[in-house]
């Protein structure tokens, strides 16, 4: 096992709204080691983005971290910093935000101001993070980093406004900005979702190459199982704010255990070679205010055990080394519950 960089424990981020409480992130555990890529997958609304935003406390109002720890280990010899406890307005979290952990978004336009050149915005980031650096050097560094992320003619493009770049090029510029502080952790939230597949392939290749070069860790968030398969060494599958399964990517693909993971993989056209019809998951995700006493997936689950899955929350079971599943099918917990013989 490598060195720990981030350890999320029982994180809960809720939105208290007039209509009810949205338990966007409802008790997740996740670790990221130095230099590795971890993926979070799940359907729309399952809490992937809020989970990632919670790490830097940049979730939208009125989202609040209501429980849990986010232990960040910048230095092996020192005790970790619990990011969940920091005041989001104080310097220390600000410093980590721009300097050590950076974020790339699905829509690069949100990261850039439309009225300044991309060069000025990236230079700004260099200047903030290096008090000794002068303007001229910052510009030179900016051109270097634009070149590094594969932007052709960086000496010219440095003076371009965001709208003058193609979607793929803007995404590269945003990656350049995120890298300008040489982060220890890069959080990429659907970094290629709005791009064509040919451009997506370039961006994924770029992220891999940069990771090899700089050794940073990557937390990649996506609804696309193929992207985690391409990028991540570990994957966590989310459903309605909770983890249902996590582990090594090869292990999860070869031996998926949770009925939701199995059903997701089975429903992919890429896996159904000749079948007349695809496998489906019945029903759809309930609205976010829904509170279930049992397992969140029980209403849609083909294998749910009546009297158990709809009555209690499953706890976690380790089905193989490092492969964790939250499901009664694998748990001893069901003995003593209900009166099912099995």
């Amino acid at each position: 096992m490598g060195d720990l960089l981030l350890q999320i424990k029982n994180l809960k981020t809720y939105f208290y709204l007039d209509e009810g409480t949205v338990r966007a992130v409802d008790g997740i555990d996740l670790t990221v080691e130095k230099g590795e890529t971890v993926g979070i997958v799940g359907e729309s609304g399952c809490g992937k983005t809020v989970a990632a935003q919670s790490i830097l406390q940049i979730m939208p109002e009125p989202g609040k971290i209501v429980a849990g720890e986010i232990n960040y280990y910048p230095d092996n010899h020192k005790p970790p910093v619990n990011l969940a406890r920091l005041n989001p307005k104080k310097d220390i979290l600000r410093r980590i935000r721009g300097n050590e952990i950076s974020f790339i978004f699905q829509e690069p336009m949100t990261a850039f101001s439309p009225v300044h050149t991309i060069g000025n915005q990236i230079m700004e980031s260099f200047l903030i993070h290096n008090k000794e650096m002068g303007k001229r050097q910052a510009r030179a560094e900016t051109i270097t980093i634009l070149k590094r992320v594969g932007i052709p003619d960086p000496g010219q493009r440095v003076d371009a406004y965001p709208f003058q770049l193609s979607g793929g090029m803007r995404q590269r510029a945003m990656i350049a900005m995120a890298l300008s502080c040489n982060p220890k952790l890069l959080i990429a939230d659907e970094p290629t979702t709005s791009l064509d597949v040919t451009v997506q392939a370039q961006i994924l290749a770029l992220l891999k190459a940069l990771q090899e070069k700089y050794g940073m860790s990557i937390l990649i968030i996506t609804h696309d199982l193929a992207i985690v398969a391409e990028m991540a060494s570990k994957v966590a599958v989310m459903y309605m704010g909770k983890l249902v399964e996590k582990g090594n990517i090869m292990e999860i693909y070869d031996n998926p255990a949770h009925p939701y993971t199995k059903a997701l993989l089975d429903s992919l056209p890429a896996r159904e070679k000749d079948a007349e019809y695809l496998k489906v998951i019945k029903g759809s995700v309930p609205d976010p205010y829904t509170r279930l006493v049992g397992c969140e997936f029980a209403p849609r689950c083909e294998e749910a055990i009546e009297g158990i899955c709809d009555k209690e929350k499953p706890s976690v079971t380790e089905v193989a080394d490092g492969h964790l599943v939250w499901c009664f099918l694998y748990s001893d917990q069901k003995e003593g519950l209900g009166n099912v013989e099995k």
Binding site: G168, T198, Q200, L225, Y253, S284, V285
Partner: protein
């Protein structure tokens, strides 16, 4: 099951061009055109699905709207088989066009914005039946309920409004409306892109089932190549308004022949992590200016094979000898095929 293209295709388009005028230069004096669809010829047989792929801006949606005559193409023919007659939609009077158009329906990407929020499900699905067939009250309800059953919507929701439905259900409403007038051809423009993975497969199965039940033909536009591979009998690859390659799905996947198809198909990530780091043909991240397309082959600035002829002369779609129904627009297709 598939018939030859011996003039019996349900739809055949020939040399279709749809241009949008743009004004460039001082005071808009030089008239330029965005060649959104540029000399495209293709056909769709009965009970067949033609998949259309290509990057954003390559002209897929414009092609669909041109076939519907929602955007009027400036040149070419749109031949539609009606009984034993073949009609050119571009030559019909407005009245004739209206009666033919009900045989061609469209399904849209965004089930949220394509449904009128102030209309109940009954009115959304029933509207075409009211307008075209004059159905009313009970007769209309009955027909709408049949359609709801067809697409897997519970008829008890007859009087509900779109906001009370999930994305997948809304897409079912859109499909039911498209089916109301018994179309022959359905043009589906990214019908599952806005849906979750778990809902996507429900909708794909539904489209397949309906195709068999009603003998429908589909043009299926999608940027998700694994879906196109799954659902299509034949595939057409577009690039900058041009058709680069077309042929049976088995001939296009897994590799294709055209250098652009090859790059496109190599870029699809696999959900199987054991396949990671397979060789991807990376393309230069160049933007094609749609109002100022490259000379010769529109793909030449990004093509790794390009030679002088590619810069000078536009290649035409030509049959590939070794594989039936497979056509490619590339000067160097023999050379590329050896690679």
């Amino acid at each position: 099951m598939l018939k030859n293209n011996n003039g019996q295709s349900l739809l055949k388009i020939e040399h279709l061009r749809t241009y949008f005028p743009v004004n460039k230069g001082f005071f808009g004096r030089t008239q330029k055109y965005i060649k959104a669809v540029d000399d495209v010829s293709l056909y769709i047989n009965e009970n067949e699905t033609l998949g259309v792929v290509g990057e954003s801006g390559s002209g897929k949606t414009t092609l669909a709207h041109s076939i519907m005559m929602g955007i009027k193409p400036c040149e070419g023919k749109i031949l539609f088989k009606q009984g034993d007659r073949v009609l050119d939609l571009k030559k019909l009077s407005a009245k004739e066009l209206k009666s033919i158009r009900k045989h061609i329906q469209m399904i849209f990407q965004d089930p949220f914005s394509s449904l009128n929020p102030r209309m109940s499900v009954r009115d959304i699905i029933g509207e075409p039946l009211m307008i075209n067939n004059g159905l009313k009250r009970k007769k209309l309800d009955e027909k709408v309920i049949d359609l709801m059953n067809d697409v897997g919507l519970d008829p008890k929701y007859l009087r509900r409004y779109p906001h009370a439905f999930s994305g997948g259900q809304r897409q079912r409403i859109g499909i039911a409306r498209a089916l109301a007038l018994n179309p022959r051809l359905v043009l589906a423009d990214e019908p599952t892109s806005a849906l979750d993975v778990s809902i996507q497969s429900q909708i794909l199965n539904l489209l397949k089932r309906l195709q068999q039940k009603y003998n429908l033909s589909y043009m299926f536009i999608s940027h998700d190549l694994s879906i196109v591979k799954y659902i299509s009998n034949r595939v057409a690859v577009m690039y900058a308004g041009n058709l680069m390659e077309t042929g049976p799905t088995g001939a296009i996947f897994p590799g294709g022949l055209h250098p652009y198809s090859r790059a496109l198909l190599s870029a699809i990530p696999s959900p199987d992590p054991h396949q990671r780091n397979k060789e991807v043909i990376l393309l230069d991240d160049q933007v094609v200016d749609p109002a100022d397309l490259p000379s010769g082959c529109v793909f030449h600035p990004r093509c790794r094979y390009a030679e002088d002829i590619c810069r000078q002369k536009k290649p035409h779609l030509e049959p590939v000898n070794s594989s039936k129904g497979h056509r490619v627009a590339c000067h160097l297709k023999e050379k590329v095929s050896l690679n």
